[in-house]
Symmetry: C2
Amino acid sequence: MKENISGCSVEEAMRLIGGRWRMLLVSFLLEGPRRFNQLRRDVPNISQRMLTLELRALEEAGLVLRTVYPEVPVRVEYSLTPDGRRLEKIVEVLKEFGLWLKARPAA
Amino acid sequence: MKENISGCSVEEAMRLIGGRWRMLLVSFLLEGPRRFNQLRRDVPNISQRMLTLELRALEEAGLVLRTVYPEVPVRVEYSLTPDGRRLEKIVEVLKEFGLWLKARPAA
DNA sequence: CCGCATCCGAAACGATACTG
DNA sequence: CAGTATCGTTTCGGATGCGG
């Protein structure tokens, strides 16, 4: 299997950042660390369950850092790792394309 | 529902171009028009069914043009519309990120 | 050559209720 | 506040067989 053709990189990238929520969450984390319920407000349509799952996935991929502050009540902050910041360009381009999408005449 | 925040653009974009195959197909179509079985060879792991479905979806979104040449046997060519070419930047950035992904030490 | 129809399992996603 | 657990629905994706 010739895995090294450039197209496969696209596939790998999409497998990691594909899905409805991932890049959306990253787009907010790019502005700075966020708490759990803060992200829920930022992304009103996401369910609690999906938010947990997606954050865990991003954490496991090394793109997001989860920090627990042992206060009462507990405080948890999510932030992008240096690796996670590599997604900034993708978010930018995606945002640009999305805006054009919503503006174009033909749906 | 405040739909106009920039993040939502990202979501809309991902809903259109998300999925395992879409951007991969676009990445090949960027090189020029392709026939059905040509794409099957380019993307060895895609099933006939998915190739049909994804091409139809891209066509319906106005990103891909399907041209039927009434020869015998029939010849069908898929090419990007001008709108479809707007995906070029996304593919580039995705490709770059994917290559880095495969190269980084920590999996 | 270029599909479509059908069936099926797997994965993504969502709603709701409950917990330290 | 920040989650788990459970369940149901929807979408994704593969296998196979048929048709113009």
